[in-house]
Symmetry: C2
């Protein structure tokens, strides 16, 4: 893909250089908005406006929606008021709202001034919904039908309004704005005949969400039911908008990326990697690095407080990284699995006992196998092959006992912390990553030195 | 959501117990396949068949597709041949193929015996495509139109065939099976009038994929272009099928889950968490735990070979966890970010120099800030507040120098390893997780002891 776009961007520049505008116009017209936007991303800001003006109206809006926010801002600055108005009024309301949300105040003012009154009113209405709610990602451009319409009347109505609707394939049947049913064009084509009204063939079992429903839940529902769109209603079951599958797809991808970033100890970022400056990267990464470094002070203290034991038997030190590493890996395996299952709505808090029981058994299996393998490795490799006589069978036993116990504890913390976090309204993904590894580090050291003191009779 | 389904499963059981079949039938008929399947998941296997037989034909197929593989197998074993045939022949071909792929050989034999000849032929054809290819997830049930049809003829054709087509909203224009163009029902409604043929208003700039294109790339394209479906063609541009947005959504979710599992050091699993037994969990987790434990032997050796230095200055031991932890966190931040960007097609190998340059600058910023904070912390907390005189400014300097260098090295390894892996056809996600943390552990220890020997004049 990338190879193709590169060529396309270069091709545009060449045609532009040779002033072959009509050829350029034809080239652009044959492309998709997403591809043109990607190619624009490779050009210098001053090269974009001229090319943009060559796009036919609908394709211009489509391209504009797909462009990166920075590129859009540059472009808007180059627009005359009339040009700006033309693009804005061609957008779907939800895209216009996204635009308004990401632009600085002075640009927003210009955008709203150029929007048609109806558009401006709808933008302002949608802006009132909280971030990440169904209301904030929905569009108001859906097809609504009356139950007493005949199928032919309905299709004529769709034909008249289709151009401005984000989807026409799923239509919503309303009366005094109350949502009564849903009907697809497929059903109209299949079951429509003389004398049949929309009310006769609509599906009255409508699955809908409320304006304040979390966008991730909306996206999961669209994915679960394989719907093209999901109706959004207010508290009185009055229809206010729809969320379409393409927006749900974007939400699912963004939320997965956000979870991954949090689990790896980063603040989530809206920008793509190549668009992020190194200062952006720094800002998103340094908080957790600092926090984790400071919290590692505790593990340092634990080691310091067992300094005498370690000085008496330095060989114990060599196993610290392995024990902490295995504990950390075990904990993050579990926490990451549980967090993902929570995100996908496969798990809820009432499953906690089942999860703990499952994890205890899995952890016991892992612990026993790891401890046995570890014992064999220590005795054969570290003691025999390398001839380290300090590593007595008792030392090996202490290490392996610690390992087995740490794995079980790590997996217990790993499964319960994210579930508790979710229950308390905190973010499981943040728990799943950095916090668990720090906790497990401290636990594994305490177990290790405790076992060493008890079994090796150290100070 | 879960709360609701629980009630629904219980409600079904109650009605079943009271033999209120017609009420039960009505209840079921008002539900969606996905919800019924979820409720079935909470019942005992022997309770499902009777309920399933109460479903109307189309809803039965819809529910069947949404059920977990284990439940489906139980259900099939309870079916008579006639019942099995009825369900199979109601499925879309791609769902039938999924079913055949996950069932044991004897069940597959029964399924194919009960499928209608045309269905059986198509299943066998689709089974030939390699796993994870566009061919393996496509369906052959699309609407194809001829370019010389009038819009009315096209709509009449759609009306006749709609019932068996997975989507009718995007239609494909073909001649001798070659793909010529694409047209939506929306365009037909908007631009269809007397004398206009499909060929006149179709879009000739068709974006298509080949049968062997990777399913993840297909899903990314559907998401990028916001299409309902993407046509799949063979090497001679003959249309063979379509991939629809709902399958793309599932692919995107599965691939994200798989990446997350790999990054956390697990073998990816097809089963949901609650469906996995503790032995399943054990099997997917133990390989990497064993590998990482064994590979931690190297860090153990590094520590052992510096035993004398550590015995002379035991205080150095206390900083090992912090240094290894910070190195590991820095490395995984970068590797996880880069791997996700590779998955989302935001990065390609040719970006490597830009990525390295960006990461060096971000790492330098992180390294300097961490080292400075660490120095202040060590001097004020560890030395002053805790009165540990062993911690000289020179020791603090060695620790902080190691930290800064480790962060830079970790971020360099973290960005280049996944990109090299992708270039070499290996899996970046596997690189992003466990392998990087092991490498970084060893590197941070070598830097630490190297700096300690040089600057603290230790043996």
């Amino acid at each position: 893909m990338n190879g193709m776009e590169k060529t396309f961007a270069q091709e545009m520049l060449e045609l532009l250089g040779e002033k072959k505008y009509s050829a350029l116009k034809q080239e652009l017209g044959a492309k998709n908005g997403a591809d043109i936007a990607a190619a624009f991303g490779e050009l210098r800001p001053d090269q974009i406006p001229l090319l943009f003006r060559l796009l036919p109206k609908e394709l211009a809006a489509e391209t504009f929606v797909e462009m990166e926010p920075e590129d859009r801002e540059v472009l808007i600055h180059g627009f005359s008021d009339a040009e700006l108005g033309e693009v804005i009024n061609e957008l779907f309301v939800d895209d216009a709202v996204d635009l308004v949300e990401e632009m600085p105040a002075n640009v927003v003012k210009r955008i709203l001034a150029q929007a048609e009154p109806a558009m401006r009113r709808e933008i302002n209405e949608l802006l009132r919904y909280p971030e990440n709610s169904a209301g904030s990602i929905m569009t108001t451009e859906y097809v609504s039908l009356r139950p007493d319409m005949s199928v032919d009347e309905a299709i004529a109505h769709i034909r008249r309004t289709a151009i401005d609707r984000e989807t026409i394939y799923t239509c919503y049947v309303t009366k005094s704005r109350k949502l009564l049913g849903v009907i697809t064009i497929k059903d109209m084509l299949l079951y429509g005949k003389d004398g049949v009204t929309i009310g006769d063939i609509m599906d009255e079992n409508v699955i809908s969400v409320e304006t304040l429903t979390d966008q991730e839940q909306v996206a999961q529902m669209l994915s679960k039911y394989d719907f093209l769109a999901l109706p959004v209603v207010d508290a009185e079951n009055r229809m206010v908008g729809i969320v379409t599958f393409d927006d749900a797809m974007d939400v699912l991808e963004d939320e997965a990326t956000e979870d991954i970033e949090k689990m790896a100890g980063m603040l989530p970022s809206d920008k793509t990697y190549l668009r992020s400056s190194s200062v952006d990267l720094f800002k998103h990464r340094i908080p957790w690095l600092l926090f984790l470094m400071i919290s590692a002070t505790f593990t340092g203290w634990i080691i310091t407080s067992f300094e005498n034991a370690l000085a008496a038997q330095v060989v114990l030190t060599a196993f610290i990284p392995m024990l902490m590493g295995t504990g950390g890996n075990s904990g993050s395996q579990t926490s990451v699995t549980v967090t993902r299952a929570l995100s996908l709505d496969e798990l809820s808090f009432r499953d906690l006992p089942a999860v703990i029981w499952k994890e205890i058994r899995a952890a016991a299996l892992c612990g026993v196998v790891l401890a046995a393998a570890c014992f064999v490795k220590i005795m054969l490799v570290d003691r025999l092959a390398f001839g380290n006589a300090d590593i007595t069978p008792m030392v090996a036993f202490v290490v392996c006992l610690t390992m087995a116990l740490t794995v079980v504890i790590a997996k217990l913390i790993g499964c319960s912390l994210p579930m508790l976090a979710k229950k308390l309204g905190l973010d499981p993904a943040v728990m799943a990553g950095p916090i668990i590894s720090t906790t497990v580090d401290a636990v594994s050291l305490l177990v290790y030195f405790g076992a060493a003191k008890a079994l090796l009779r150290l100070g």
